[in-house]
């Protein structure tokens, strides 16, 4: 009896790509709650782990007196940090409320602006904490992780990754 011939030249079938609408939906859900995009795509275990890791990172950031970054027109790199904070998803609102008492994303340009002085005053309270640097690093890392999760959800949905 002969062995069945296996054609080694034919590559494994590529993972199926979802319609674009579902791919965007997966990315949107991934932003909404870390891991939700993976849950939508049927990656349950990964979804649970990602949710726990990113939420733990964010929670540790809050507990360690981390501050959400404000976009300062005088410091262009702060725009990147603010976008990174926002990438964590709606839970990011918590860190802004705890730091500034309200939802604010940008410092006024004018140095004498009372709002700018008030926001910087609130930030100084956080900066004075011994663990502020750790906290802010945890918050920024949570945002970076969620950006990677959004991109990963996109890759899975478009069939680039299984």
């Amino acid at each position: 009896m002969t062995e069945p011939v296996v054609d080694q030249t034919v590559p494994d079938a590529a993972p199926a790509a979802l319609p674009m609408g579902q791919a965007w939906m997966a990315c949107g859900l991934a932003w909404l709650l870390p891991g939700l995009g993976h849950l939508y795509l049927g990656r349950r275990r990964r979804a649970v782990v990602f949710c726990m890791v990113v939420t733990a990172m964010f929670g540790l950031g809050l507990a360690s007196d981390g501050a959400a970054t404000l976009a300062d027109p005088r410091l262009p790199l702060t725009y990147l940090a603010t976008a990174d904070n926002v990438a964590t998803g709606p839970i990011e609102v918590l860190s802004r409320r705890l730091t500034y008492g309200r939802l604010v994303y940008r410092l006024p340009y004018d140095e004498a602006d009372p709002e700018r002085l008030e926001l910087l005053g609130r930030l100084r309270v956080k900066v004075a904490a011994a663990t502020h640097e750790y906290g802010s690093t945890f918050l920024l890392t949570a945002g970076l992780m969620n950006i990677l999760l959004i991109l990963d959800a996109w890759d899975i949905a478009t069939g680039r990754k299984s």
């Binding site: 990964r46 782990v49 990602f50 890791v53 990113v54 007196d65 011994a130 992780m145």
Partner: protein, 59 residues
């Protein structure tokens, strides 16, 4: 609030290790391997850099 530098560093390294293990690998064994290598090397390298920086600044 955790005040210990080492504890903060360890928690950070473990979380990053777990995250990348699940992001890049599929099998349990491979994930564990990445977790240990990534988390462990972050902790060891940080201690090494801290040791090298210990004499600075010179007084």
């Amino acid at each position: 609030m955790i005040r210990s530098h080492f504890l903060n560093l360890s928690i950070f390294s473990i979380l990053v290790g777990v995250f990348f293990a699940f992001l890049t690998q599929t099998g349990t064994r491979e994930r564990l391997r990445v977790m240990v290598i990534l988390g462990g090397s972050m902790i060891v390298l940080s201690l090494l850099v801290a040791y090298v920086m210990y004499p600075f600044p010179f007084r």
